[in-house]
Amino acid sequence: MSAQAPLTGIRVIDFTWVGAGPFTTKILADFGAEVIKIESRTRPDQLRRAEPLVGRRSLEESGYFAVRNTNKKSVSIDMKAPGAREVILDMARHADVMANSFSPKAMKKFGLEYADVAAVNPRIVFLSMPMAGAVGPYRDYIGYGMSIAGIAGMFGLGGAPGHAPVGTGTNFPDHLPNPLHAAFAVLAALAWRRRSGKGQEISISQIESTMAAFPDAVLDYAANGRVAAPGKAKHGYALRGTFPCAGDDRWCAVAVKAGAPLEALRKLLGAGPTSDIGEALAAWTRSHAAEDAERLLQNAGIAASVVARPADLIRDDGHLNARGFWQHLDHPVMGRTLYHGIAAKFSRTPTAYRTCAPLLGQHNDELPALAGLSAGRYEALAAQGVIK
């Protein structure tokens, strides 16, 4: 028997959109789950219109949407149309997971809260991951990854003392902390379902989830009343920062712990025990190309890296390409484009993507099978504009 993908047989009905939610379900899809995105032409995933766009003025040209939705299917259902709810419930009877990232009132408006879905399928794992969770004063508040970083205290710790905070420059919580927590919770619920036979509801506040993987500043305040600020030296390090190298806007990050690494650095620079090691290193890096500085430091056993620009990341001869991290897929509108791959290699499970992001409604013709609809009912729903 040939090996199957680890999550073969898991079907996910996916209402998530924009950032963290679609990356959660992408992880499931990339490992063999059948993930079916629910969108509509009147209310498509916002990400379909997000830059970088290739310039076709369509819903099928966003590089952002493409990289978040590999290996998924799309059916277009107008959730405001009468009859849409019943189609979703019919799909839910044969599904294992249902996921959404709306604020709590949206699923209530659809009549598709956990109780509604569990009534037709008690084995379903029902994930809701709005920004602020199911309860509390902010429960209907909305935001993006950067908003969450602001509320959770992460944004304010990016920057330099005396300057406005700058965060990470990205919607960081959308890309790693929140989808990874959500995926772990779904997988754990599936593990428990194997033993118990029962589904359950998972409720996530993306603010809380971000904070759980960003605990140290709050731990310090809670125990000691110390308020964290950017630019403080990390305990245990003699030196840590980005250093200017030869050329225009080239940098090398260097992290040196006290003890043996610091001694190795002093030896490399020929710096005596009383000299300012930070100044000595900066003078040294300025006289080296960033790549050379990185190699010389690493050869001396010191943790260092070029600050990689986007072009450095995707270089043909770079480390990431040597490991096969980047992938390319053909897309009917966008053509052959570049995708972030999977940050892990499995000894027995291939991690090459199977399909590119779906066109809106590309898999509508699978709806009769997915929802157990007769041909007649499918045609009637299409005629009524429920499926469009």
């Binding site: 680890p6 999550l7 073969t8 063999g32 219109r49 997000a50 290739v54 590089g63 309860v135 209907d140 993006y144 908003s147 602001g150 205290g153 920057g159 330099a160 990470t168 990205t170 890309h175 790693l176 990874l180 772990f184 997988l187 593990a191 428990w192 033993r195 118990s196 036979g197 359950q200 509801e201 998972i202 996530i204 506040s205 809380e208 759980a212 993987a213 140290d216 500043a217 709050v218 731990l219 809670a222 964290a228 600020a229 920062g241 250093f243 990050a253 260092a304 890296s305 620009r309 986007p310 990341l313 995707i314 480390h319 490991r323 972030h340 892990a344 499995f346 000894s347 027995r348 499970t349």
Partner: protein, 401 residues
């Protein structure tokens, strides 16, 4: 065993061995959902015991708040892997484990006789997940790394900071926590997939690649549009999407009516109703075009108008009033404001995360709420080697039986 369990621990019975120095957040995810997690520590203890923040001014091996947060509810076994006797004990533990989390190259583990290919002969169902700075293969596999080096090598540092200064890395070891989370997810996938795949497997996780996942669309902006994304500092992406000063700090506004963002018209209505000078000009049709809003003169024009409004209002007030209008606005909080936040406290988010010498510690609680199998943090972290004798004896009994 369908229908056979009445327990409320999602991962009860799952045995996880954590061989890592600083990636304890991975096994914390397992421990807090009921798995049996054992840290294997060298004689001096793992590095996380010496990582800050600390309780008060203490810096001793029992003072780390960070370690308590990561380790409450786990077991600690001290093994000296330079001794064959202890290596044999570890092999015994590996024979019984479901998941191993590791941070070393396999070439280093092989010398100790505990590499995956050696252990999988004893335990073919084992899932071995290794997290290293650059992965197990490729030209940089041997390179040293840490959080900052991963953020630089993976392309995040380039995107962080001010336009006229060097790249930065946000405080908080984001690459380390994200790598730990990623390892936990990949391990669970392989664990759940043991039947489909036909046994366990080895997983090679690269911190650099995880950071690269966080670069958002930077590689695609380059390949699709020839635009190099870089650090912008406080300069907004476009008028209405960025950070703006207010009376007591900063707010983050994410307003647009096309593409990513929502509620531009609502922002304009808010400004107009508040009597802000020139706000009416923002209702002109060109202000609905993202390219127009990305031009620096238009960003500056909006900044003047919005800042005049925000300068007399606090960030929490702007947050609550803007959200009431369905505008994605958020405060830039510090750790005091976060810990005292009304919503997080109403939700009971902060909880006991451990204790040091009788002092109870509080910190972030559940990252998720599972209705049937609730998340629960352990009471405290184990003392160094607290379970060593118990596990030696259990393995000796097993050998006798």
């Amino acid at each position: 065993m369908i229908g056979g369990t009445t327990d409320n621990k999602a991962l009860a019975g799952l045995r996880v061995l954590d061989l890592t120095q600083s990636l304890g957040y991975a096994s914390k995810l397992f421990a807090d959902l009921g798995a049996d997690v054992t840290m294997v520590e060298p004689p001096g203890g793992i590095e996380a015991r010496r990582e800050g923040p600390f309780l008060g001014d203490r810096r001793d091996d029992n003072a780390s708040l960070h370690f308590q947060y990561l380790s409450a509810g786990k077991k600690s076994v001290v093994l000296d892997l330079s001794e064959e006797h202890d290596r044999a004990l570890l092999r015994g533990m590996l024979r019984n484990a479901d998941i191993v989390l590791d941070d070393r190259l396999q070439s280093a583990r092989k010398a100790d006789g505990i590499a995956y290919e050696q252990v999988s002969e004893l335990n073919p169902d084992i899932v071995w997940c290794s997290v290293t700075p650059f992965g197990q293969s490729g030209p940089r596999a041997q390179d040293a790394g840490d959080d900052m080096v991963a953020m630089a090598a993976g392309g995040m540092a380039w995107l962080t900071g001010y336009a006229d200064r060097g790249p930065l890395v946000v405080e908080g070891e984001l690459a380390v926590y994200s790598s730990a989370q990623y390892a936990a997810v990949m391990s669970m996938i392989a664990y759940l997939g043991r039947e489909a795949v036909g046994g366990g497997q080895f997983i090679d996780v690269s911190m650099q690649e995880i950071v690269a996942l966080g670069t958002e669309t930077a590689p695609q902006f380059l390949t699709l549009k020839g635009i190099e994304r870089r650090r912008l500092g406080e300069d907004e992406r476009q008028a209405g999407i960025g950070i703006y000063p207010c009376k007591d700090g900063y707010v983050l506004l994410y307003a647009a009516d096309s593409g990513l963002g929502t509620g531009w018209s609502d922002v304009v209505a808010w400004l107009r109703e508040s009597g802000v000078p020139d706000a009416a000009s923002l209702s002109e049709p060109e202000w609905f075009d993202n390219a127009f809003k990305a031009k620096s003169e238009n960003k500056a024009k909006f900044r003047v108008i919005f800042t005049a409004f925000a300068a007399t209002r606090g960030k929490q007030e702007l947050f609550e009033q803007g959200q009431a209008r369905h505008i994605a606005i958020a405060p830039i909080n510090d750790s005091r404001e976060v810990f005292n936040d009304a919503h997080l406290n109403a939700c009971g988010f902060f909880t006991r995360i451990g204790e040091i010498d009788g002092t109870e510690l509080r910190g972030p609680g559940a990252p998720y709420h599972l209705s049937q199998t609730p998340w629960a943090a352990g009471l405290r972290a184990p003392r160094l080697g607290e379970q060593t004798e118990a596990i030696r004896m259990a393995l000796a009994d097993e050998a006798m039986a």
